[in-house]
Amino acid sequence: MAFYLTTILFFPILGAVMLAGIPGRNRAAIRQATLAIAVIHFLIALPLWWLYAPGGADYQFVEHVPWIDSLGVEYHLGVDGVSVLLTLLTVLLTPLAVLGSWRYIDHHVKEFHILLLVLTTGMLGVFFALDLFVFYVFWELMLVPMYFLIGVWGGEQRVYAAVKFFLYTFLGGVLMLVGILALYFHHQGVTGVYTTSLADLMAIPVPGELQLALFLAFAIAFAIKVPMFPFHTWLPDAHVQAPAAGSVILAAVLLKMGTYGFYRFAMPLFPEAARQALPWIAGLAVVGVIYGAMVALVQPNVKKLVAYSSVSHLGFVMLGLFALNVTGVQGSVIQMINHGISTGALFFICGMLYERRHTYEIAQFGGLSTVMPVFAVLFMIVTLSSIGLPGLNGFVGEFLILVGMFQNHPWMTGIATAGVILAAYYMLRMFQSVMFGDVEIEANRKLPDLSGREVAVLLPLVALIVWIGVYPAPFLSRTEPSVDRFVERVTRTAGTQPAEVAELDADEAEPPEAVPAGLEGRP
């Protein structure tokens, strides 16, 4: 299995090169070819589900090749359970995104699909990177195609949205770069070795104040991506303006870059600083949960509503990461996947509405259940998943996050739990406005129900919604050992072992020292 990850990583680029050879006029051929490439890509990556051994090594399918010796940069890839799930999510959503844009994208079709494939490589690179330099290259690589997806194929205010996306991301990127460089030179200062290897950098403790500063540099970059309150205002604009496929990828995968960044880099690299910052970050996460839900409620635009709901949902994910126990972090990881599936599906649904009426205004709909019954059923299931109905996927994640976080921070969790009420309020209100009532607007009276293609886009996502809700064990068991290591790393105090492990050792150490029976009390 040498270079398995490299194959997965660069296959889309190979596909993009092939696409470049197809004449731009032949749109059908481009769409079909991209779909074929994306499906093959999915099939190539799918065996990860079985081949990854949860109980095995920390990182698997590791590739380690010297790259820029003078700088200590290595081409170093590997996956743990969390990156495996995020990878599978990514390769599943790409073909669906192609299928979902079949009619939506009608100009520069070739460029669109090439960028989509390049974007896929960028995202996967972030999930695979075990070297900060490699990570940073892919991090920046993925932003460029996204910028153009919004700026070229977006709605009326696409340029404004793209620029806003750019500004925020630029700010975060620069901060993180400074952080990476500072860490790089700190490591060299202590050991005399230049390296960008994540494992090597983690091995050398960073002194308190520098650690806090570096953590903040990373954390702000990731918090923008998540996005956490108050760094979220690029998101609604980006979503509303982006084409359906862009929104789907943006919500489902790109936002996870932020939470994944916390999980893979910011928190394990700077554990003490992460614990110091915990009340602030968890506090902002709680604010995000409530604030996102409130602002979502008053949106007249369905896409913007879903965008703000993401702010609320990602608040839960951040809360789970900072629960710093396995239950909460497991919830957080599964919720990253859940959000990708459910919100991805919601943005597909927004696209389906838009293709029919060329508007996202909630007031322009109403009574669609009567004219589009199949759509109604699928939309309802996705809505229920989004509001965390037990038996569907969202509940598993939210519950684990809250029950885990509650054990350490009951008050914050209590406030965040109110989010389940607010979510029901804004989602059901939107659903009712769009789907229930009588058809009052003439243009809605003859809307076609979902086509076979559209059903094919939503059905895999709905199947996952039910699967994870009813039987999450295969997902949870794949990530648990990785999450264990994460929690152990982040809760460890410099120079000592984590509390639980120390206790365990003490227990194990006891039997040999036990005094033989009958000898107690003797001098």
Binding site: E140, V144, Y147, F148, G151, V152, V159, Y160, V163, K164, F166, L167, Y168, F170, V174, L177, V178, L181, P230, F231, T233, Y291, M294, V295, L297, Q299, V326, T327, G328, V329, Q330, G367, P373, L389, G391, V396, F399, L400, V403, G404, F406, P410, T413, G414, T417, A418, V420, I421, A424, L428, Q432, F436, G437, V470, Y471, P472, A473, L476, S477, E480
Partner: protein
């Protein structure tokens, strides 16, 4: 082994969901009419078998359980899909599948005007409800119970808004879901606290060790029980979260009978009774439960007195009767609370189905002011409704008398004379408003249109047979709980339900178990006195109703004019909906608008992003992003920065 087949009980209605949901239009209304009720009937049969299997065992061995699979396991947390069949859940299973089956059959007649799609959708939802309700009562842990809990809430939402073309129906469904979510918020916090204290959410881990883990009367026990009770208050429509139930009458009438009277709304009572080991450690919360129950019972009865919509009267009556059940469990008379849950399921389901039969005959008319004199045209409905009305009024020997009186007596016996008095007054009011409904509907002269009069008809057998069965149960259903005070004089008839439930509630009241065994026991004379008082009050209520709405029908109008303020307040339901709207809904919406317009668009976009003006300037610079060479700009700026930093570190 019966235990290996427990899973069948919820699986059968779930199979109905799949068949009706996926193939409903293909198999047609005929097929759906077989599958829908058939699956619930089959679940009843299996439940009965399990019940008999339990009954054949020694009392302390009456527990069956089945672990289907581990649902969630993450870190220390673990929850299984596992079922528990003990006397308490077996009782509820029989009610849910038994009464549920009758209502499914009734629905075949009631919903026959729906088109194929609607008909299939209706039975899909109704089967789904039955499945969720069975999960709720059969769960062996609090998390799975919560799954059923929210599942029935979902079905309630879907069925209240079944006729979604009318926006008001959809709104009522949404209100039900959201108000229930407020309760569920409490339930979740209760589970979080419980997991913190016990390290588990399984009944088998939590309940037996409640007495050792929790301090009696301590804060942990208090908060766990209080939070769980918040969930019960939402689901069982008690003060202050009852406001969704009257609106829920927007759903089809059989739905009101099944979900909003017989089963779902009693889930809160079941939950408190199930967790009684926790509540026994929190006497302060028990007092709150009893107080809220009594207050709700009286409060809802006063509103029921002036409603003119037949279903609204029954809705407030349900809220009131649920209050009785909470009064019962609140004074630690758990078996009495469950007993009333069972008899109430019989007579209240019947009252709703009877009302449905009336509405059916009048082509959708629900206003009692346009009814009257229906006795002759609807004989089966009339006689069965009479049985149910007498039962709820508390006339012996019908079902409601025994269960309600048991609660009242246990309240008095536990040393709560004030709560007892409230309960007694409510009993009188119940007889009054129920016979007002009965007389206005069936007696006097018909006040509807001539056309309605011409089309008056008794309902088809699919509807009248369930009415008859429930009518019989409303008469004899109470005989499973004859108190020793009467049982002894009848020659030692035991209190069957109390002794049946004794293994579940044993530690709660050993005295009850002794009662139940039918042992000769000195009956305090007070018990007979109180019994006489409740019968007298019920009779008084009926006579008053007869005088007011049959003999002197102009009198209620005059009373209304005399006490105009009181009448207005009552008919507007104490303006509680308006109050909530003013102090919760509007401020929340306004605050949300503020957050969006002022904080998001004003403050953050204005300040943090550095002014929208700057962005607009950018916008003109890169207005056609693809052609203008934005990539070079981007790359230059970015990697220029990288180089600058590198240079600073390497040579600075």
């Amino acid at each position: 082994m019966a235990a290996n087949w427990i899973w069948l009980v919820p699986a059968l209605p779930l199979a109905g969901v799949l068949v009706n949901g996926l193939l409903g239009r293909r198999i047609g209304k005929g097929g759906v009419s077989v599958i829908g009720p058939g699956m619930v009937g089959a679940a009843f049969a299996v439940s009965l078998w399990l019940f008999l299997d339990l009954a054949a065992r020694a009392p302390e061995a009456r527990t069956l359980s089945q672990n289907v699979y581990t649902w969630i396991s993450a870190g220390d947390f673990r929850a299984s899909v596992a079922f528990l069949v003990d006397p308490l859940s077996a009782t509820l299973m029989l009610v849910v599948t038994g009464v549920g089956f009758l209502i499914h059959v009734y629905s075949v007649g009631y919903m026959h005007d729906e088109d194929r799609r609607g008909f299939a959708r209706y039975f899909t939802y109704l089967n789904l409800f039955t499945f969720a309700m069975l999960v709720l009562v059969m769960a062996d842990n609090f998390l799975l119970l919560f799954v059923g809990w929210e599942g029935v809430g979902l079905c309630s939402y879907l069925l209240i808004g079944f006729w979604f073309k009318d926006r008001a129906n959809a709104t009522a469904g949404k209100k039900a879901f959201i108000v229930n979510r407020i309760g569920d918020f409490g339930f979740l916090l209760g589970i979080f606290l419980m997991f913190g204290a016990f390290g588990s959410v399984a009944f088998a881990d939590v309940l037996p060790s409640a007495a050792t883990v929790l301090d009696a009367g301590g804060p942990l026990a208090f908060w766990i029980c209080l939070f769980l009770f918040v969930g019960a208050v939402g689901k069982s429509a008690q003060i202050p979260l009852y406001v969704w139930l009257p609106d829920a009458m927007a759903g089809p009438t059989p739905v009101s009978a099944l979900i909003h009277a017989a089963t779902m709304v009693t889930a809160g009572v079941y939950m408190v009774a199930r967790s009684h080991a926790l509540y026994d450690m929190a006497p302060a919360v028990l007092a709150i439960v009893a107080g809220i129950g009594a207050a709700t019972a009286l409060y809802a009865a006063t509103i029921g007195l002036v409603q003119t919509d037949i279903k609204k009267v029954l809705a407030y009556s349900t809220i009131s009767q649920l209050g009785y059940m909470f009064l019962g469990v609140g004074v630690a008379a758990y078996a009495a609370g469950i007993f009333h849950l069972v008899t109430h399921a019989f007579f209240k389901a019947l009252l709703f189905l009877g009302a449905g039969s009336v509405i059916h005959a009048l082509h959708g008319e629900q206003d009692m002011r346009r009814m009257g004199g229906l006795k002759r045209a609807l004989p089966v409905t009339y006689w069965t409704m009479l049985a149910a009305t007498l039962a709820i009024a508390g006339i012996p020997p019908l079902a409601g008398f025994f269960s309600k009186d048991e609660i009242l007596w246990r309240t008095w016996d536990a040393g709560h004379p004030v709560l007892w008095a409230i309960g007694l007054a409510t009993a009188g009011l119940t007889a009054l408003y129920m016979f007002r409904l009965f007389f206005l509907t069936f007696h006097g002269s018909f006040r509807g249109t001539g056309e309605q009069r011409q089309h008056l008809h008794e309902s088809p057998p699919s509807m009248t047979i369930p009415l008859t069965v429930l009518g019989a149960l409303s008469v004899v259903g109470g005989w499973i709980g004859i108190p020793p005070a009467i049982g002894q004089t009848l020659g030692g008839v035991p209190n069957a339900i109390e002794s049946w439930l004794a293994p579940v509630f044993a530690d709660a009241h050993a005295e009850g178990a002794a009662h139940a065994a039918g042992e000769a026991h000195a009956i305090p004379p007070m018990e007979y006195a109180l019994m006489a008082a409740s019968i007298a009050v019920a009779l008084l209520g009926i006579l008053a109703a007869r005088y007011l709405w049959l003999t002197r029908p102009e009198l209620p109008v005059r009373i209304g004019l005399q006490f105009r303020v009181a009448a207005t307040v009552l008919s507007n339901k104490y303006y509680v909906d308006e109050l909530y709207d003013a102090i919760v809904v509007r401020p929340y919406n306004a605050l949300s608008h503020f957050a969006w317009r002022v904080i998001d668009e004003g403050l953050i976009d204005g300040l943090v992003v550095g002014g929208t003006g700057a962005v607009v300037r950018w916008q003109s610079r890169v207005s056609s992003a693809w052609q203008s060479g934005a990539i070079p700009t981007y790359v230059t700026v970015f990697f220029g920065g990288v180089v600058a930093i590198l240079v600073y570190y390497l040579f600075g």
